[in-house]
Amino acid sequence: MIVNDKTIPSRPAPAANRGVIGWLRENLFATPGNSVLTLIGIAFLLWAIPPILQWAVLEADLFGSDKNACTSEGACWVFVSARFQQFIYGFYPDAELWRVNIFFAEMTAVLVWVLWDKMPKRMWGGIWFLTGFPATSFMLLYGGAFGLEVVDTHKWGGLMLTLVISLVGMVIALPVGILLALGRRSQMPAISSFCTVFIEVWRGLPLITILFMASVMLPLFVPGDIELDKLIRAMIGISLFEAALIAEVIRGGLQAMPKGQYEAADAMGLSYWKGMRLVIMPQVLKISIPGIVNTFVQLFKDTSLVLIIGLFDLLAVMQAGIADVNWPNIAIEAFVFTGFVFWLFCFGMSRYSLSLERKLDTGHKN
């Protein structure tokens, strides 16, 4: 009797099913239809990528100071470098640019503190973001105190203005949005109906009509002798609009809370505000973070609309550059650069939100 006391080693999979060939067969050429799609895709890439590369990199002009430096067929990136200061700072005076740079540095530091989960005392970072950071930024950018020269808001512009409007929107929209969401779910009919109407009306309107209203009607609402700055008016409009959006995100989080949490807070003898602050809100904010970040992405993109009411944000700098007769035919370069800056911020934020979503989704649902 023959007994094989050794395990027969398993044979490797057929060559066609593993390695590069296997991967290709599985993912690109699984069926005839799939193969056709793949070929079309490859043809598209071959058609699109070489000319783009040639235009953007190989034949592009990178160095110089004016239009004459652009001699080749490709992109004229000289335009971007020549206008870089305007793209970032608008018309902020040359001698005071260090103030904007400190603002950028503080912003980066605070955001890292709040957003990176390995930082200590992130709670305090959040409080600083909502209180100290706006105050110091205002001091820095506007001046008028500690011997800093006043820089009028009509000189603000570019990426700096875009960031200032977005940050003000975030700082105001979050607390106001939370209050509106709580109000909408309140037991008191006067308050809940007011909040519901407020949220639905602001959410249902295009931001551009709100900005028009802020710039045309707001001056009518205040006594005649008070002059409201154009930037402030735009900020009020944008912040209230985003607050209504945030309120709906928070309301979703409030509704997702099990009822037992509310009852437990009551049973502990906590007052309404204490219960909200200590029991409900920490949990609601945690599950709403992805939605809040998505709203902030929306807010960041929406700030570009201030161009229509005459503020000089990043997009407006781009438009002014395209209209400049000294720089003919640089429209595509200007669009690519501006689009890339916006894309970088928005893509970064949405990736962050996605990673948070994955981290928070640890099976603790229900």
Partner: protein, 399 residues
């Protein structure tokens, strides 16, 4: 004993504090305070506004709507020229808004569904390409995209004399897109009648086919039959009535094209910008909807022997639609709201014409802004009512 315990704290406090701690009393007091505050705020705003309006010499009221407008509008779906009233500019703007919204909703839905399904394709390359599309278009402001199409793409098209043409009937140049217009001569009523009959037949056919499938299990190719009906019946009617419809070709006369239908570049740019932006969001919703369907459903329909396309059409999509529709209605509303960005490129829709030019000419800020806002709120309500109805139809009918 228990009575004593219950009444002990109450006895310790005076009746006035007990009254203060009564949640009902508190709620009423808070609400009265809130209403008072709101009333104070509103009345301050109203007084300030009336004072300001008086100072600037602006009279309120809707009389301006019947005054002569005196300015031209680039594109109008109804008859309009300078002698018409401000009220008419409102209608023109509103119709242009509706036009671009409807076209945008159709185009973005088609592109969005294609990209969304492509994102989940088993083909690695297609899935990646769709992913790149979504991440690029979703993360760039829609205003920038509209300006891009308008300034960087449509402005560099050739002049009318060097138009890009398709079969000598469709032309694209700097001034817009030109294609043949149908001209309905006498007797073309028959064709519309045939179209009506075809629609009625299709409705009847689909009822019958559904009933037959429920009764016997036999299916009927409703889609193909409907397509044949809706093409063949009017075509037959066209021949029978003696070909009463002809095409008016756009022709180059002087510096521009005359005749046919003209689509102005502003509309093209706005449509492309809005649709490709919204399509990226719709694609993400479609992907999420299909992802939400239990994998067992796909395996079950595979086990029943359904082909991949039938699985998608009969099993996956109907279930995914339930997840997709609620966010889809948000996307549509956003598209309608974003159509107001046309102001930046000068497409004559509601905000541009009415809230822009008309407001500048009349100075009636409050009335005009209120009317414009009312339009958007109404459109939002209509879309959400329609989508709710559609959602109820698609909703799971449980036993």
């Amino acid at each position: 004993m228990s009575e004593n315990i219950a009444s002990a704290p109450a006895a310790g406090r005076s009746s006035s504090t007990r009254f203060l701690y009564d949640p009902k009393v508190r709620s009423i007091v808070f609400q009265l305070l809130f209403i008072g505050l709101l009333f104070f705020l509103v009345s301050t705003i109203v007084t300030n506004t009336t004072n300001n309006l008086e100072q600037r010499g602006i009279t309120t009221g809707f009389d301006f709507l019947s005054q002569e407008a005196g300015f031209g509008i680039l594109q109008s779906l109804v008859e309009y020229d300078e002698t018409h009233t401000f009220g008419k500019t409102f209608i023109v703007g509103l119709l242009n808004t509706i036009l671009v919204s409807v076209l945008g909703i159709v185009l973005s839905t088609v592109v969005g569904f294609l990209v969304g399904v492509g994102r989940l394709s088993r083909n690695w390359l297609i899935s990646r390409l769709c992913g790149v599309y979504i991440e690029i278009f979703r993360n760039i402001p829609v205003l920038l995209q509209i300006l891009f199409w308008y300034i960087a793409v449509l402005r560099v098209l050739p002049s009318p004399r060097q138009s890009l043409s398709l079969g000598e009937s469709v032309f694209l140049n700097l001034r817009g897109l030109y294609f043949p217009a149908p001209i309905f001569e006498e007797g073309s009523g028959v064709i519309f009648a045939a179209l009506g009959v075809a629609v009625a037949l299709i409705i009847g056919l689909s009822y019958w086919a559904k009933r037959r499938q429920v009764m016997t299990g036999q299916t009927f190719p409703v889609f193909n039959a409907s397509l044949a009906l809706i093409v063949l019946l009017p075509a037959v009617a066209w021949f029978v009535a003696g070909q009463p419809v002809s095409l008016e070709m756009p022709e180059l006369k002087g510096f521009n094209f005359r005749g046919g239908i003209t689509v102005i570049p502003e509309l093209i740019a706005l449509l492309l910008g809005l649709s490709f932006y919204t399509a990226a969001y719709i694609a993400e919703n479609v992907r999420a909807g299909i992802d939400a369907i239990n994998k067992g459903q796909q395996e079950a329909s595979g086990a029943l022997g359904l082909s991949e396309s039938k699985t998608m059409r009969l099993v996956i999509i109907p279930q995914a639609m339930r997840v997709v529709i609620p966010p889809l209605s948000t996307n549509y509303m956003n598209l309608i709201k974003n159509s107001s960005l046309a102001t930046a490129i000068g497409y004559p829709e509601l905000v541009n014409v009415f809230m822009g030019t008309t407001l500048n000419q009349t100075g009636q800020a409050i009335e005009i802004i209120a009317m414009t806002m009312a339009v958007y709120l109404t459109m939002n309500i209509i879309v959400s009512l329609f989508m709710n109805w559609f959602n109820n139809r698609m909703a799971l009918v449980e036993r």
